[in-house]
């Protein structure tokens, strides 16, 4: 949209991928996947309530959106995910 006058602002926004769902800096603990223990069973990917776990050959966590709730750690059958305090 081209604005002709510098005082014209409108209260609209263009939808963007997860623009409002980023975690910011308030997360207390974060899940870390241990690659040695992980068996790629995809349980964490299925159970993550924020859908922040993606699969790209193997599972990985998108920390921009992860809230640190710990569900993935508790559903992991081999306890490959540990919750680590944020620094």
């Amino acid at each position: 949209m081209k604005l002709q006058y510098d005082y014209q602002y409108f209260p609209i926004s263009i939808p963007d991928k997860g623009a409002g769902g980023k975690t910011g800096n308030w997360r207390v603990v974060k899940p870390v996947i241990s690659k040695e223990k992980c068996i790629q069973c995809k349980a964490c990917y299925l159970w993550c309530p924020e859908s922040t776990i993606h699969i790209d050959n193997e599972v990985y966590i998108d920390y921009e959106y992860c809230k640190g709730c710990g569900v993935c750690a508790s559903v992991c059958p081999v306890k490959a995910i540990s919750m680590v305090m944020e620094q």
Binding site: Q8, I12, G20
Partner: protein
Amino acid sequence: MKIISGNEAVALAVKLARVGVVGIYPITPQTSIIEKLAEMKANGELDAEIIRVESEHAAMASTFGAAIAGVRAFTATSSQGLLYMHEMTWWVAGSRVPVVMVVATRAVGAPWNIWDENTDFMSERDSGWLMAFASNPQEALDLTLQAFRISEDERVYLPMMVGMDGFILSHMKTNVNIPSQDDVDLFLPSRKQPFVLDSESPVGMGNIFPPIEYMKLRHSIHEAILHSEEVIRKVGIEYQKITGINNYSTLNVKYKLDDADYAVVLMGAWAGDAMEAIDELRKQGLSVGLYRIRYIRPWSEEEITLALKDKKAILVIDRATSMGRGGPLYLELKSTLHHEQMCGVISGLGGVLLNKGDFKEIISRFVERAKQGNAKGITWYYPKGGEKIELKSPRYVEE
């Protein structure tokens, strides 16, 4: 040329503007606008969607939704209804979407009162709407037509409300010049608006904005109202081309003012009575003139200062109050002019009628006080015998 009432004039203006959606909810004294629109729709004269809703809040909300979807939209209301849609008026103004509303002014309860007073209209001053006030049915039609053009101008993009005195204008029948549909089509191009809610190019509307962005939006509304002054003058000149009415090239209207020592400032229907009173006082040798405020927003500081700065004294007659402070027009003028001799009169509340004699009395009293140099402060004026009426309300008295 037809003999029609103010409400019928507004309804005809809405029809001529080819409005697409009207959200309607009846309230005295505005009801006959929407009755007339519904009648036109039933007769097949009006090609618009008429949405009957359950409240004024919903009337404005449905109008707002239609406007955002890209249709020319209109609604009308009064008094309690305007207060009920107060929340939605802020939403519409904040969204910068062109909408036109006509307000037939009426007193606000309690106590219950259906007669004319401008307080309801004036209470919307802060919301970010452009606000014009008519003084006769002809002007109600003209301003309604111009409102569509002004609010859809790309320099403005703000909603506009047109006020008129309830009953006095809305139900009084006078001669009204009605422009032809072809002329109006020349004057009013197809609708423009800043954004349209459309599934083809999705935008979000109504979501939360962070503090700085919100403040910038508010700032932009303020700037748009300031810039709308030149737009209003240009639209007035354009309107003259199709109707020949040479009255809209300025925001406010002067009457015998340029050579006058004393100025009377007011707005609305009783300007007619005041003009007649001024004519007679002029014959008696009092040098008074009238300045009628037509646009409350934008408030043209430049025009008002030019017109009133060299007057010896100024009298502001208000048909509205800001309780405990004075009339809104008086307060606005005081902040514009810093004039030493300025006094306010509050009258006409809740349908109190002033006639020519009352205006003569008010103005000649004011001139006497101004000559003594103490034209200051606010007085409440009751027409003949009114101050003698005692309120006979039961009171609880402790023994």
